[in-house]
């Protein structure tokens, strides 16, 4: 087993899934024939493949495959996930793509880039096809392929139904993919007429001198997934299973078979088996690690390094922030952060954020950064945020750490009415070639899963509706683990739990939850590159006109260490800006977010009375009942208020213990030493997402005792949906195994609430709390101004873009 080459393995959520798989996998067999599977369709070919990319990778590694190539249909959406998993599993991974054409439509060509430029061409080819077509579709012709064919290996997959023109195409492709880059696919899938067809292909191969290559045309990693694949096919075609007929595959052979089995099935064609390894080795020259992401370079003047420029800007800002001299503590903090930023070379990232903020300031657009990196001294000095590091116990390392080689994540909230200006600025500055929104993979949730699977199994609409309404039937079990419980709940609804269809239904719904369904655009995550973006990743049209989206989501981008800036809209910022304007007009008082008098007792007095109508974030009924009990007296109390008074923690029964402990009615208790280091400020009731990072826990995974908090949501949860996952989240890797059962219960007990609504990480709450204070201050001292500004807002709620906290 070759060791992963790069020791700094990127953190990626799919690694979590992999742990589960790796725990189950046995010793790797490496004897017998070498075989590499080159045609794998994962579930990122939406509603087609029936396994996650990492499931293929781990199964292939377990079976001792020489290599594995992912070839989704006209898409590269799954390659990052598979790449990350392959590194962990220690199996060579080959980037591939199955090209389907609009002209001619019977043609299927599998392509594999052999070099970075070839990969760029493949991305450009896909971008070309996708930009032509409507969202989610791709229009390619054979001529497009020929134009972008340099450096690509190709496999032509001809079916028996191929027309006679296929022979001409074969000759043409042989010319195009010269130097032995073309192969002819042979399969052994036990389909009718296969043996004759194999003979014909062999003759064809001998006549045209195009070598044969074996593929098993995989759609699922395990034969048990065949039913799910059929169901997905039915969903795609909008039919029920009995209606599907020949639209389903004839049998269940499209899974990863052991290499010995593949060699035995195609014993008459040993050269086709050998060819798989040859192709995998040639295509293996390209690896996703070669995608060196490059930060845009126009942000610092020529002649100096980005780091020097950042230092300069920061010190300038610091002098402005602290006119009476920069406090020594802040100086130390700054130097410490500089060292980290320099070491990880994130300077361009901070410069990009600074650039956006400067632009917004120049236009008079109010904005504020949030996220742990945003709460750094550097960001405070750069003006990205107004959270004074002197006031909050900054934990910069939490998000920017040596250990996790991933870029810091800063979300910038802009006035929601003027966010579009900022977006257009980005497009203008970097061009559509170099900036695009990230994707968000929309996955099956319980409700959609119940609806779609129910229809396919032929349950009546009425029955499906009834189940969909009682959605907590699928609390969060994974495949089969709590199927009995679901069955019992269905029985309570009047369904027969012994009925085959109902059993299948429960099983399939459990399997399909967490499956990707389609790509959508992320709320505001921009990817900006130095070179053309379309050579890095295929770009497709978004549903919104004049918006373009890349094929990868934020986790993929993190894994490749690409820069992403979240440009979000926030209604309260508009409101505060309007208040400031009115203040200036009518009271001749000029204020900014940074110059509002801090820690005013009168303001907290008002908050303790729960007199908070209109105040940002804390005007809901739940918040208002909590305020007199929490009695916020300082800024950090507000942070906690914002972070914990949310449906998640409330349902998870964490708020009340917190209050009791805070008021000294209950002793502070830590489940074990490991967790003691984590929650310091939240008194052992690990309410605050983000607090887990101090002890090096995984980013974004720690929330209320262990759940993932991201905007792309409960992927991890819904997919894995097991408590063991949560344990993994808090205690990395093997620690989990050693975790005492009692501790596990204590840490994991709040989980039910977690599943439903996520809480708010501390670092984000810190920025929001500032706005809470600002709006409360305005309400306390200038109620007329504040109310006027509120009333000038659009009526549909203040929080235009929801509190999005990646």
């Amino acid at each position: 087993m070759p060791a992963p080459q790069d020791q700094k393995v990127h953190t990626h959520p799919y690694r979590l899934a992999s742990r589960r798989a790796s725990a189950a996998r046995g010793p790797i067999q490496r004897s017998g024939p070498s075989y590499a599977e080159l045609a794998v369709t994962s579930n990122l070919t939406f509603l087609t493949g029936a396994s996650h990319p990492d499931e293929f990778v781990f199964r292939a590694a377990q079976l001792g495959y020489h290599a594995l190539a992912l070839a989704d249909h006209n898409s590269l959406a799954g390659i990052v996930r598979a790449h990350v998993a392959a590194k962990e599993a220690g199996i060579p991974f080959v980037v591939g793509c199955r090209l389907r054409f609009t002209g001619p439509d019977w043609l299927t060509v599998l392509v594999y880039p052999t070099s970075r430029p070839a990969y760029g061409r493949l991305c450009r080819l896909l971008t070309l096809g996708k930009r032509r077509a409507a969202k989610g579709q791709c229009q390619l012709t054979l001529d497009d392929l020929i134009e972008h064919s340099a450096g690509l290996l190709a496999i032509l997959a001809l079916g028996e139904s191929a027309p006679s023109a296929a022979l001409d195409t074969l000759h043409l492709l042989r010319e195009v993919f010269d130097d032995g880059r073309l192969s002819l696919a042979v399969t052994r899938l036990f389909e009718p007429d296969e043996s004759e067809w194999l003979h014909k292909l062999q003759t064809l191969s001998r006549r045209t001198d195009v070598p044969l290559v074996a593929i098993n045309d995989i759609y699922y990693h395990d034969p048990d997934r065949k039913p799910l694949q059929d169901v997905l096919t039915c969903i795609r075609h909008g039919c029920t299973l009995p209606e599907a007929g020949f639209r389903l595959f004839p049998n269940g052979e499209r899974y990863l078979k052991p290499p010995t089995e593949m060699a035995r099935l195609l014993a008459e064609y040993p050269q086709a088996i050998a060819r798989t390894v040859e192709i995998a080795e040639r295509a293996g020259d390209f690896n996703l690690d070669q995608l060196r992401y490059e930060y845009p370079d126009e942000l610092c003047p020529p002649g100096i390094t980005p780091m020097e420029h950042l230092r300069e800007l920061t010190w300038q800002g610091a002098r402005k922030r602290y006119p009476g001299g920069v406090p020594t503590r802040v100086c130390h903090e700054l130097e410490h952060e500089f060292a980290l930023i320099d070491e990880l070379s994130y300077a361009p990232y901070f410069l990009t954020v600074h650039d956006l903020v400067t632009f917004a300031r120049s236009r008079g657009i109010l904005c504020q950064g949030r996220g742990a990196a945003a709460n750094s001294a550097v960001c405070f000095c750069l003006g990205v945020t107004s959270v004074d590091p002197a006031r909050i116990d900054v934990l910069f390392e939490r998000f920017v750490s040596r250990e996790r080689n991933e870029p810091p994540d800063i979300d910038i909230d802009f006035e929601h009415e003027r966010r579009e200006e900022v977006i257009q600025y980005i497009y203008e500055k970097y061009g559509r070639e170099r900036a695009a929104l990230t994707a968000e993979v929309i996955t099956y949730r319980r409700r959609s899963a119940v609806r779609d699977v129910g229809k396919v199994l032929g349950l009546s609409l009425d029955a499906v509706d009834r189940i969909a309404k009682q959605i907590n039937i699928w609390a969060d079990h994974g495949a089969g683990s709590r199927a009995d419980e679901s069955l019992a709940r269905l029985a309570a609804l009047g369904f027969d739990p012994t009925d085959t269809t109902i059993r299948l239904f429960v099983e399939l719904v459990g399997q399909i939850i967490g499956f990707p369904r389609h790509l959508s655009q992320h709320v505001g995550g921009f990817v900006i590159t130095r070179g053309p973006l379309s050579e890095l990743v295929p770009i497709e049209n978004a549903a919104m006109p004049r918006r373009t989206v890349i094929e990868w989501d934020k986790d993929d981008i993190d894994a490749l260490g690409m820069l992403k800036v979240d440009v979000l809209g926030l209604g309260m910022l508009s409101c505060i800006r309007k208040s400031f304007e009115l203040l200036e007009q009518h009271h001749s008082r000029t204020l900014t977010l940074a110059t509002i008098p801090v820690e005013d007792p009168a303001v907290y007095e008002m908050l303790c009375r729960a007199d908070t109508v209109g105040v940002f974030q804390i005007e809901s009924r739940a918040q208002m009942t909590m305020l007199p009990r929490l009695k916020p007296r300082c800024y950090y109390d507000l942070v906690i208020e914002v972070a914990i008074v949310r449906p998640g923690p409330i349902v998870g029964d964490m708020v009340h213990p917190y209050l009791r402990r805070r008021n000294g009615e209950e002793p502070v208790y830590y489940p074990d030493e490991k967790t003691r280091r984590v929650p310091r400020k939240d008194l052992g009731r690990s309410t605050l997402p983000g607090t887990g990072h101090d002890s090096g826990y995984r980013r974004g995974r720690v929330y209320a005792g262990g759940s993932r908090v991201t905007s792309s949501g409960n992927y991890g949860l819904e997919k894995q949906g097991r408590n063991s996952t949560l344990a993994h989240a808090v205690y990395r890797g093997d620690d989990c195994q050693r975790l005492r059962a009692g501790v596990r219960r204590a840490v994991l007990q709040p989980a039910p609430g977690v599943q439903r609504v996520r809480g708010f990480p501390e670092s984000h709450a810190a920025s929001f709390a500032l706005l809470v204070y600002a709006s409360a201050w305005l309400k306390r001292y200038y109620p007329a101004v504040f109310t006027t500004a509120l009333l000038k807002q659009p009526t549909d709620g203040l929080l235009c873009s929801g509190p999005d906290c990646p």
């Binding site: 039913p227 009995p242 299948l504």
Partner: protein, 362 residues
């Protein structure tokens, strides 16, 4: 006025319209029930009360419908009344001067009536799917005869051949006074040419579908309505489920539903034997384990050597019907030619390794 007014028939001179309307209840305006209740809530019950109110306010409070109805009633706005015209019934009748009991006469009359009905339908480009003959009898209830066709027909000869044998069985009683032929259901026949001379018709009778349809009708007529069945292909990889039998209802174009959608992988006809056994017959087969093709086999007491074999084709029972766990869920089919030149369809149940013959190519 006629419905709500004092007189059965009312003609109101133009100048008196408003006055005579005023006395009527508001319901006379043909307004919806909601408006009526809304009006009664504010105490308006007669049209006169409405007429006294300002026009614009009425519209604002009760909607434009009320205003429109009011204007229509007073004749200030035109109202179009569209009459529903019933389609002309497709029937022909022949009445006799006195009761007729002789079969020959009735036959002749029915045939003439058929021709008359056909002539009527010809203009509509439709053919008969369902025909009803009614005989009005003296001193007895009328009796009737019905005829269903699988293919819309307007061929008098064909219909006559179906009707004629039934006529003999009609109880005529003391005689028939009237015969009615009613085409209760018709269907369009567009793709048929019209012919000037009847003899040309018989020469042109090459339309296969029609010929089949007429054959089926005659068979049904003789053997009973449920006796004629049709085999239809069903999209399924499992040979036993790849067809269904059902009573012929209508004959369409044989290619219509097959062309409706093309599947990604389809079973070609040559891959299925022309004769499929009702139950697979066990056979003893010599083959390479685990999944080699058959070399020799013993079936129906005969020992045969295999000359050629094609396959395997793996067929899986549909999992959603609960077959997943059953022991013969997966079968490997081989097309086998034995030394006698017979082509047989053998399969092995992969789970048990047992062999069966499932059909043959004749």
């Amino acid at each position: 006025m006629a419905r709500y007014g004092p007189d059965q028939i009312a003609a109101v001179p133009a100048k008196n319209v408003k006055r005579s309307l005023a006395a009527l209840p508001v319901a006379a305006l043909r307004i919806s029930a909601e408006i009526e209740t809304a009006l009664s809530e504010v105490g308006i019950e007669r049209i006169g009360q409405l007429l006294d109110l300002p026009h614009d306010e009425l519209a604002a409070r009760f909607g434009s419908e009320l205003l429109r109805r009011l204007d229509q009633a007073s004749g200030e706005r035109q109202e179009h009344i569209e009459a529903i015209q019933p389609a002309a019934p497709r029937q022909v009748t022949q009445a006799f001067a006195g009761p007729v009991a002789r079969l020959e006469i009735i036959r002749t009359v029915v045939r003439e009536l058929l021709m008359a009905l056909m002539a009527k339908l010809h203009g509509e480009q439709s053919g008969i799917r369902h025909l009803c003959l009614t005989f009005q009898r003296v001193d007895a209830e009328s009796t009737s005869l019905t005829l269903s066709l699988t293919y819309p027909s307007r061929d008098v000869d064909h219909l006559w051949s179906l009707v004629q044998p039934k006529l003999e069985r009609v109880p005529l009683g003391y005689g028939v006074e009237e015969i009615t032929l009613h085409a209760t259901r018709t269907a369009r026949v567009i793709d048929e040419q019209m012919y000037l001379w009847p003899e040309e018709l018989s020469a042109k009778r090459t339309d296969q579908t029609r010929a089949v349809g007429e054959l089926v009708d005659q068979l049904k007529d003789r053997l009973g309505p449920r006796a004629v069945k049709q085999v239809k292909a069903v999209e399924s990889y499992v040979p036993e489920q790849a067809f269904i039998q059902h009573v012929v209802q209508s004959i369409g174009s044989p290619h219509a539903d097959r062309a409706a959608r093309s599947a990604e992988v389809a079973i070609r006809l040559v891959n299925r034997p022309s004769q499929l056994f009702e139950t697979p017959e066990p056979a003893r087969v010599l083959a390479l384990v685990p999944d080699g093709p058959p070399a020799r086999f013993q079936w129906r007491g005969l020992e045969c050597a295999v000359r050629t074999s094609l396959g395997p084709e793996r067929v899986v029972a549909p999992w959603w019907a609960g077959h997943r766990s059953s022991s013969d869920a997966v079968r490997d089919y081989y097309e086998v030619e034995d030394t006698h030149g017979r082509w047989l369809w053998l399969f092995r149940v992969t789970a048990t390794g047992r062999w069966f013959v499932h059909g043959l190519w004749a």
